[in-house]
Each structure stands twice: as structure tokens, then as C-alpha cells.
Assembly symmetry: C2
Homo-oligomer: 464 residues x 2
């Protein structure tokens, strides 16, 4: 069979050595699964041939970008063939006239930001791994970052795809127009499908004009409920901030501990608000945001007056991930999302979960769109603690769903959340998804072991 | 069987008389098909029971809103059962805190606009039939109107649904959060599915803060290419107008003929540009739009100074539909959409088609998103002319697709465009859609005869 692969892809892009395969056995979640073979295809024709072959010999196929997934998206849980698409990165066109980017899946998301901004355009989705994640992996997980409230999610910017189907056919979905209602929206079905419905080989993204200016503030609150009220007041005043970020007390302490920068250690919540748009509009809006924060009992509001002061504010937010990473060897990063008005209640529940299970749980997130990131810092070798982690994670999911929210706002289901799918979707809802998977991928070749729970599967953290 | 229906729905909401059924035999496209029975269900449980029964006895089910479809969406082409959902309109909640509207499918789209605006919020999608179309029908066709460029399409605002599946199960998709990546995006699959994948029984819409102000201008051009250049210049200057509407010369003449209001009869193109947002921002932006129009050889630019002057400008655009309706008994309204930079080329092709087939063809549309509305005014009783119409329509589709565009930007495929699906999607692309339909609706109960061409079907205008 390896000879057939050599007929499709040249030797130097086929990896069989243990050491090479090992580096494809993990992602940014946890769990390690060794693939049998790793291939770096360089175009959609090679991929289609490989997938056809995989169907013939029933070999699992695992597409992979930069493997920054926090839910196990690219993990080759059933062995088989990893397709490393990070090298499929040659096409990178900005069509200024039609406000489009046409890119290969291996292009780094931050490179799309950069090339768009060079010509005065803007690609809003910005997950925190955007400087390393590929656009292909990014959109298959539909991770979006802080700008979801004002600008929508990644999905809202993907208007066309070239895709290799699970049976090895090359199709095009959508196209180069914002409006397209010709048949079912396969583009949006594939975006967020976590590599289970197709391998994306080309992406057409919609861009928008770059906002001309931005203003940023940092507000401290003694009480989480007050910060929630301030956010709601701002949004119902007609202001739509580009970003509204929230950090809880544990998170503030973690950052200060990692790199002291004068954050208020006794604040129960820090909120970063950024407005963007026309210079005179945002001048007025940021002032109004400041006033509304004070009206809702902010203890301090600092409006950045210079680009340096803005960078200083964002630094605190960007320090969160490194700060908590160094707090322990294993970080469980969740992304339970609730309707925005439920944030204070969800924060309260998270506090109770932290106390009940005696865990190191810090919370930050995108307050504007209700997308919280509760992170548990632990050590996967500590079996006793991991049991508590597992129970805590279950309770986090249950809390989110019971507040009208969702298991995952942007990290995806992958291996880690599969057992909880029915909790949110119900039996019939999950069945409708499975029907699509089975109709498209009758041999279950593409990224098997993801999204759908195995019969009887309940929890996974410990097994990973 | 009728007795079983009476067990599910009370007598007064079941219609069997010919005269009653007749009023459900057409929509805003053309073609007449008499249903065997019409039912007005009042909740999702009744609908689920009716659909289960329909599966048992293999009765076609045709969901129907206000029947403003221009592509035959609700037509009961195989007889059977029409479900009139216009009375399923009781729920109409605006959740100001979470920027959401939760509505029944029978609520009129314009009522959603109204209730949102009453609390300072905004629901951008606005198809021209929004004052009569139901939100359910509106979103199943994914028709969006003039604001697609800046605000995205209807799909971008639908975040959750309650749906009765084709086998009669009640499921919920998505939810109340903008971010949700729990499994496949069934919400966006169902939006735009033209009633073939499920019957929507509740809708959760995302709202945004209402723009504080707006400014509008009307620019005349002697040359279509100049108007295209002006539009591109404006968009690449960093301005994102809320609407950019285009009318060709035939359209201008039609409006002036219908109701004289001083439009320039010799202009080759009229462009309406509206910017919305912060008052001081738009003041500057409209000035810049005016300058850029003149730089690109506009012969005249009129900026509305008052709300009355704005209404006057929009009146010209709103007169288009009534003006062309009275030009002849049959109006064929297309919505071929091309990448925006291809508009001048598409307009040129449309001119050639008009001349080649000697037809009364007027063109207007949403220039910002490339969504044109070529309308042919004809008489369906004139068999000879209808043959020319049919050929002209084929050429319009071919032109759109060959310019990188799509058959349909917002009217849907329905019965009228089904034969052309493969032209745009290719055999394999169409097959992937069909696989979903077959997996979800094994008995082909829900809106059969739509979207997918029958074997050997090539053209439909004459048959309708």
C-alpha cells in the first residue's frame, strides 16, 4: 500500500519514522496518538487520490493544520494517515476590488490579517493562536476570538471553499459573492465541522474596510454583577464595541504573579473595552463607555491616550495564557458560552465549582459574546486530582447548557466534549448531525473518533 | 385519513373546499398547483404529528408563509398537504439585554424591524417584500435585500431554530449565543434550504444596536462603467455604505413613466448610496462619496439634506417594482449575482441579451454586493415570446456563472432554477446536497419537486 502512496506523493513528503510520526501525535489539548504514516500533500488532486485510496483500504485520514486545537481536532485517535496541510500554503491573493482574500488552507491566520491591512482592509476573526494557527484549521474549528459580538464569527467571513469530500471528490462550495442561495449552504456546514466532512483545499474570505481608529479602556470592578451591568448598559446605549474582555480575580492574580504590571489585585473583575470606527465617533463612544462603567460602580477606569497605553492594557489580557500555563503542567481550557446576560450567574457557578472541587480554576473570556474561558490548571499525572477535574468539567458544561448556553463557543468538540453532545443537542438533534456524517462519509474515513460520542462513552478527560 | 388529520388539528383550521385550496395554489412566481388539503397548524407538536402521518401515507408536505416567493418555494407542485404557517405568529419577544429577537415563523419581517427599533435595536435584513413576508419564509429563502454588503445576509442573523424534521421530530439547533460550535451548524443548513430540510417553528435572531444616523445620495452617470468605478473607489476608501443601489436606463424610464418625479431620462445608471452610523462620521463619509462620484464622472449628485429628501430618493427605488409590474402581465424576476467588480461586464451582457432576444428587460439591484435583479416583462400567454424569455433566462444564468457568480443571490432555486443547479455546482457538488436531503427525508415528503432537477429536466419557464 505504501507503494500506492508513493505513486501519489513523492517520497520526501512521506514520513514513516517513529520520531517523525511522534511529532504528529499530539495537539494543544492533551492525549497522544501515534499515526501510522504522515503525508504532506501539495495540492487537492493528491489529497483526493489519497482519500480515495483510504476509502478502498479503510484507513482513517486525519487532516492537520498547525495543531493548535484545544479539543483534540487533529489527533489521530485511530492511527492511520495524518495529512499535514501546513505546507499547502502557496496561494495568498487579496482581491481589493471585491473585498476578498483567496488563500490556501496552510496560510497562517495572522498573515491574512497582515496582507488585508496592508491595503486598508480587515479580516476580523482573531483567535488567540492566530499568529501560529493555519486558516484551514482555524475555520474548520470556527474559532473566532474577541470580536464576535461586533463582527460575527469566522463563519460569517467564509463565503467559498474548495473541498475534498470524504469519498475523495473535489467540489467547490459557495463562491466569490456575499449573497449566494444556490442550494444548501455547504460552505457553512463544512466550516466548524472539525475536519469530519471534508478537507479544505482553498478558502475564499470576505474582507471589510479597516476601521479608521480605535480607543481602549480598562475598568476595575469590586463586584462581578456590576461589571455585567456595565456591559449591558453600554450595549443598550447603542454602542457596539469591537471587543469586551473580562478577567476574574484569580486571573488577575495569575497575571500579576507572572509579570507584575500594577493590576488591582483586589478587583473582582477587570473589563477591557475597545471601540473602533470613525475617529470622532469613537472619541465620543469611549467617553460614554467610561461614564457608564462609573455609573455601574467601577472603582477605576483607565482610558488609553496613546497607542502605547493601549498596548499596555492589552498586554494584561495577552499575559493570561502564558501566566496560567506556568502555573502547572496541565491546562484544561474550556470555552463554555452563555447568553451575555447570564455571565454573572455563570461566573457565580464557576466560583462554586472551584470551591466544591478545590481546583485551580481561573476565568477570562469574551464578555461581549458570552464566550467564557474557564481554565483549570492541574497535573494529568495526579490521578486523584484529575478525577475532580473531570467532575468539575462536567459541571461546567451542565451549568452552561442549563443557562441556555453551549458546550463550546469556539474550541470545538473534538475528542474532549463528544460525551456531552447529547446533553446540549438532545438525541434527535445529534442524530440529524450523524445522518449527515454517515451520508457523506459512509466508510467513516475522515477524522473518525471526533464529535460523535462512542456508544456508552460518558467522560474523557482521564482517558486522554 | 382526513379523520386522522381531524384528530391532530381542529376542523376550523382544515380547508378542503376548492375555492379555499385555490388561494394556496400560487405564489409570487408563476405556475399554479392545487393542493389536496390546506392546514393551519398552531404549534410545533401539531406539525410534528402531521409530518409523521405524511411519512406514513407518503403525502407531500408544503410549508408556506406569505407566499411572496419569486422562485416557487411554497408551490404544492405534487399536490398533497399545504401547511399554512402564517397563523403561527404568537411569539414575538425582544430580549434587549442579549440583543435577541425570539419569534414565531409567521411573524411579518417588518414587525421584527419595528419592535427592534422601538428599543434602539436593529435587524438589518430587509428584502423588498418585508412588509408582507413572514420571517419564516424569509429565512428559509435567505433573502436579504439591500444591506448585505455592510451587514451580511439573513443567515448572519439567525443563531437558533426550533425545527420539525422531515420525519416529524422536533429539534432545536444553535441557541441564544452568537458563538456556538457544538457540532455541525444545522441552523445555517436549514436557513436557505427552501423548506426542503425542515419546518421552522421558532426563530432566534441576533440584533445589533441601531445606527444613530444615516445620509443618502443619488448619483447619475452617463456610463455604467463609471458608476462601477465610483462604487469600487468608495469601498476601497474605507467607507462601507449601508446600501448601494443601482438602476439602469430602462429601469429609470419605467419609473418615470409610472410616476414622473424628475429622474434623468438619459442617464445610463442611477446609484443610490446610503451611509449609516455615528452622525459626525457619516457627515464626512457622504461628502467623500459625493466627491468620489464626481471624480468618476457622475453627471449629477444629489445629497439628501432632510428626511423628506431621503424619502424622495428611496421612492424612486421603491417605485421600480410597481412600475415594471404594470408594464406587462408577467414579470420574470431574476437575481443573478456576480462579484462586484464584474457588475459592468454583467450589465453589458444583459444589454446584449435584451437586444438578441428583443425583450423588455430592465435591470436594478444591490450594487454593493453584486446582487442584480434583471426583470423581464412579458406575457405568459404569448408562447412565442416565452420561448425567447426562456432562452434569455438561460443566458443570464450562464453569464452570471461564467463571471464567477451565482444563479441566485436571494430568491432561491425553487422550481424555476432547478435545471441550472449543475451548471453552477457541478455534478459532485449537487450530489453532496442531494445526499443530505436523502439522509434527512428518506420518503421525500418535505417540499418535493424543489431545488433538485428531475432527471433530464432542462428548462422550466414554459412548463410552469
Amino acid at each position: 500500500m505504501i507503494d500506492r502512496i508513493r505513486d501519489i506523493v513523492p517520497e520526501e513528503r512521506i514520513f514513516l519514522d517513529l520520531s517523525e510520526r511522534y511529532s504528529y501525535s499530539y495537539d494543544a489539548s492533551f492525549g497522544e496518538y501515534l499515526p501510522d504514516i504522515v503525508i504532506q500533500p501539495s495540492n487537492s488532486i493528491e489529497i483526493a487520490q489519497l482519500v480515495k485510496m483510504a476509502n478502498k483500504y479503510l484507513i482513517p485520514v486525519y487532516p492537520r493544520g498547525a495543531a493548535t486545537s484545544l479539543s483534540g481536532g487533529p489527533l489521530p485517535v485511530e492511527g492511520g494517515m495524518v495529512l499535514d496541510l501546513s505546507q499547502l500554503n502557496k496561494k495568498h491573493i487579496i482581491d481589493r476590488e471585491n473585498l476578498l482574500a483567496i488563500v490556501s488552507p496552510g496560510v497562517i491566520t495572522a498573515e491574512v490579517h497582515k496582507s488585508a491591512e496592508e491595503v486598508g482592509l480587515f479580516y476580523p476573526p482573531d483567535p488567540s493562536s492566530s499568529h501560529v494557527s493555519t486558516i484551514g484549521g482555524n475555520l474548520l474549528e470556527n474559532s473566532s476570538g474577541p470580536k464576535g459580538l461586533k463582527y460575527g464569527t469566522t463563519k460569517e467571513y467564509v463565503i467559498g471553499l474548495e473541498v475534498v469530500t470524504p469519498t475523495g471528490e473535489i467540489i467547490r462550495t459557495g463562491g466569490s459573492t456575499v449573497k449566494n442561495v444556490t442550494g444548501y449552504d455547504l460552505t457553512r456546514l463544512i466550516v466548524g465541522s472539525e475536519g469530519t466532512l471534508g478537507i479544505v483545499t482553498e478558502v475564499i474570505l470576505r474582507l471589510i474596510p479597516k476601521p479608521k481608529a480605535r480607543k481602549t479602556l480598562l475598568a476595575s470592578f469590586d463586584n462581578l454583577v456590576d461589571s455585567g451591568r456595565a456591559i449591558t448598559r453600554i450595549l443598550s446605549s447603542g454602542i457596539l464595541p469591537g471587543a469586551m474582555e473580562l478577567m476574574d480575580n484569580a486571573c488577575i492574580r495569575a497575571v500579576e504573579n507572572y509579570q507584575p504590571s500594577g493590576l488591582p489585585l483586589d478587583a473582582q473583575a477587570l473589563v477591557i473595552i475597545e471601540v473602533d470606527g470613525h475617529p470622532s465617533a469613537i472619541e465620543e463612544e469611549i467617553k460614554q463607555c467610561e461614564e457608564l462603567c462609573y455609573q455601574e460602580k467601577a472603582t477605576n477606569v483607565k482610558v488609553a491616550q496613546t497607542e502605547e497605553e493601549r498596548a499596555e492594557i492589552w498586554k494584561a489580557r495577552k499575559m493570561v495564557s502564558p501566566a496560567i500555563t506556568q502555573m502547572g503542567p496541565t491546562k484544561i481550557s474550556e470555552d463554555a458560552t452563555v447568553p451575555r446576560s447570564k455571565i454573572p450567574e455563570m461566573m457565580e457557578r464557576l466560583k462554586q465549582i472551584r470551591e466544591k472541587y478545590q481546583l485551580n480554576l481561573v476565568v477570562f473570556g469574551h464578555a461581549g459574546d458570552g464566550n467564557l474561558h474557564p481554565n483549570i490548571i492541574t497535573d494529568k499525572r495526579n490521578i486523584e486530582e484529575m478525577k475532580r477535574v473531570e467532575d468539575a468539567v462536567s459541571e461546567i458544561f451542565e451549568a452552561a447548557v442549563s443557562l441556555g448556553g453551549t458546550l463550546s463557543g469556539e474550541h470545538g468538540i473534538g475528542t474532549l466534549k463528544a460525551p456531552y453532545m447529547e446533553l446540549e443537542l438532545g438525541k434527535e438533534g445529534l442524530l440529524m448531525m450523524k445522518k449527515i456524517k454517515e451520508a457523506w462519509d459512509p466508510n467513516n474515513i475522515l477524522n473518525p473518533g471526533k464529535i460523535f460520542p462512542k456508544p456508552g462513552q460518558t467522560k474523557v478527560v482521564l482517558r486522554a
